[in-house]
């Protein structure tokens, strides 16, 4: 068991929209969260292999390896990592699917930043067994 950084929780943002990645990085960093970003599921998978994350927040629709693919992959390789789905108006059906596939929660896009932060903080407050013990 190796705890990398108990002080700063680490969140992975996966979205193909660079503006949104920049916004979330800026917001979450300000709340003391270490933020990594990936433009699609493929890049995210690589990052997840390199370092542990407390939360993965992913968009559903992306060009290479979309949110569902990433979710399935994470459920297999990092079942303890909570995955929050960000979903657009038109992909509610897919969000339902994601919830059934084990996503922790979903948020409607456009993202409400205070809601997102509240959700992230709620996830981070979970018992250590399911949260801060990363890299298992």
């Amino acid at each position: 068991v190796k705890i990398t950084s108990p002080q700063r929780p680490r969140v992975l943002i996966v979205d193909d929209e660079p503006g949104l990645r920049a916004l979330l990085e800026w917001e979450l960093s300000d709340h003391g969260i270490e933020v990594k970003t990936a433009r699609d599921g493929e890049e995210a998978t690589q990052l997840v292999e390199q370092m542990p994350f407390d939360i993965v927040l992913t968009d559903l629709t992306m060009p290479k390896a979309d949110g569902l693919v990433l979710l399935e992959h994470l459920k297999k390789t990092k079942p303890e990592t909570p995955v929050i789905i960000a979903t657009g108006f038109g992909t509610v059906e897919t969000a339902v699917q994601a919830m059934q596939k084990g996503a922790y929660d979903f948020l409607l896009k456009p993202l409400d930043v205070p809601k997102l932060i509240a959700l992230i903080q709620k996830v981070l407050r979970r018992p250590p067994s399911s949260c801060l013990c990363r890299g298992l």
Binding site: E17, G19, E27, G88, V92, A95, P110, L111, V113
Partner: protein, 536 residues
């Protein structure tokens, strides 16, 4: 008694007589005057205008005798019509043909007879104009000439009478036909009028006056129709009032007497007389209703075109807009009160929200109109949607209770849209309750007479909707939330989608309890789910 032989052309002669339609008619002064004149000129007590029928001679006019007819067998005139010239018997008692004739042996004791045949232009002899006396005698040359002249005058009179009869009949026929035509044209809802080459109204039907708001057709007759009802500069009706075949204008404007106008479709066709155009007949209909439908259709087409376009670009606009809004709001949250940039940032936020709402509105319309429907289970849609609602509810302390009736019949719907309805109602309830409360989702099957419904009740324990705004909650863009926090479309969209599914939305509200009731008609082809039969 010696009977006169029949003329060679007797059949044709009788037919000719029939054509004059004079036998057994009333006496007429014009004939009586000529008969009197004959008696007077010839100085005889008796004068007659005798028409020879099949078996009788009939007197249209007579002087000095009572009888109106006698048998043809004893008629002097029956002999007279055999020749074309004046027929004279100076003394019947000395003439072998008439010596035993009852008219000679008995009253009126005829001795003298002189008659001129009444010959038609075609040469048929209808009868005789004759003078009789009870004593033997003769006529002077001038008396004979006068009698011949009178005979011709009688014939002229007969011809004139015949022409008049035919004319009267033709007029009657014409009137009848005209009445029929008027009845026909006045019974149609189509406005019909006729104009001459100058464009002056010569005729109009009742519908025409009614459609153009005139009290009666006579108000239109004589009017220049183009100036009166058709104000456009170059009148298509008058333009072709030459050799052209006709014209059809499927959308134009006609003006009523009160200065109002209406959309009309009209057809104009030339009135030809002997191959020459003498005017035009125009028929028109009021197409207000059709226009209204067309407009509605065009609008919905426009909406769906806008929707398609919006659907295409919305994603591309939404994301950058979300980023602009996100950064702005992030900066605003960090700005201390009275910060120099607070006002500009708020302005950016406000304007970005306006753009976002617009995109959202457009998206809404792109989604409701055309969507595939399929038989679906409402409960299943609720199960799907409630996982999203529950995720939202988990942010506060809101309990979500589901009470779904088993074995519900299917409805015909678009699953995405139905879920949208449930999510919107759920979110609306969550917003109404704030941090805590209970959200209930209940379904049941209802029968009202022959109609069956699948119902969804969404009940919350929120603040309730004030009665003053209750009637407006389904209006698109109506919202009680602060600017930027609601598009005002959530419930509007619920209403729109449910209506498109032939369903109804009802709401009851009081403080502490608001209940939305959505009813969808049961899909007949799958009224009962298949597993129903395994119940027992």
């Amino acid at each position: 008694v010696q009977k006169a032989s029949l003329p060679l052309n007797e059949q044709e002669r009788l037919e000719a007589l029939q054509r004059y339609e004079i036998l057994d008619t009333e006496g007429e002064e014009a004939f009586d005057e000529l008969t009197s004149l004959a008696a007077s000129i010839c100085g005889t007590p008796i004068a007659m205008m005798s028409l020879i029928d099949t078996h009788r001679q009939w007197f249209k006019s007579k002087v000095g005798v009572e009888a109106t007819e006698t048998s043809r067998d004893i008629a002097f005139c029956a002999h007279g019509i055999l020749g074309k010239e004046m027929f004279v018997i100076p003394d019947a008692s000395k003439d072998s043909r008439f010596v035993d004739n009852p008219l000679v042996t008995q009253d009126p004791h005829i001795r003298f007879y002189a008659g001129v045949p009444l010959v038609t232009a075609e040469g048929q002899t209808l009868g005789m104009l004759c003078v009789n006396d009870r004593i033997p005698r003769d006529l002077t040359v001038s008396q004979k000439n006068a009698l011949r002249t009178l005979g011709r005058q009688v014939m002229n009179l007969l011809d004139m009478r015949r022409t008049m009869t035919a004319l009267a009949r033709a007029q009657k026929d014409l009137k009848q036909r005209e009445e029929q035509l008027h009845l026909l044209l006045n019974s149609t809802e189509e406005g019909v009028y006729g104009i001459d080459l100058e464009g002056t109204c010569t005729w109009a039907n009742r519908a025409c006056a009614k459609l153009l708001h005139y009290a009666g057709v006579e108000e239109l007759i004589g009017k220049k129709m183009h100036e009166t009802i058709h104000h456009i500069e170059e009148c298509p009706i008058e333009q072709w009032l030459g050799p052209a075949k006709g014209t059809h204008v499927d959308s134009d404007v006609l003006w009523r007497s009160d200065g109002t106008c209406f959309p009309a479709e009209y057809w104009a066709h030339p009135i030809l007389r002997d191959g020459k155009t003498v005017g035009a007949v125009v028929s028109f209909i009021d197409i207000t209703e059709r226009k209204r439908l067309e407009l509605g259709m065009r609008q919905s087409e426009k909406m769906s075109a806008v929707g398609q376009l919006a659907g295409g670009v919305a994603h591309e606009i939404n994301n950058p807009l979300g980023v602009i809004l996100g950064f702005t709001q992030g900066m605003l949250r960090r700005a201390s009160p009275g910060d120099l940039y607070e006002m500009p940032l708020k302005a950016v936020e406000r304007e970005a929200i306006r753009c976002k709402n617009l995109v959202q509105d457009l998206l809404t319309f792109s989604r409701t109109s055309k969507a595939d429907r399929e038989p679906m289970d409402l409960n299943q849609a609720i199960e799907g949607a409630s996982s999203l609602i529950m995720a939202q509810a988990r942010l506060g302390q809101i309990e979500v209770k589901k009470d779904l009736a088993p074995h519900m019949p299917h409805i015909l719907g678009n699953p995405n849209q139905i879920q949208q309805v449930i999510i919107n109602l759920g979110n609306n309830a969550l917003d109404a309750m704030g941090k805590q409360g209970t959200l209930r989702l209940r379904t049941e099957c209802l029968s009202e007479g022959s109609r069956s419904w699948v119902c969804l009740y969404v009940t919350d324990t929120g603040s309730g909707i004030p009665p003053t705004i209750l009637p407006r909650i389904f209006e698109p863009f109506f919202t009680t939330k602060p600017l930027g926090q609601g598009t005002g479309l959530g419930l509007g969209l619920v209403h729109e989608i449910v209506q498109k599914h032939s369903g109804t939305v009802d709401v009851k509200s009081q403080p502490g309890c608001t209940e939305f009731c959505i009813k969808f008609p049961v899909h007949r082809q799958s009224a009962l789910p298949e597993n129903r039969s395994f119940d027992h």
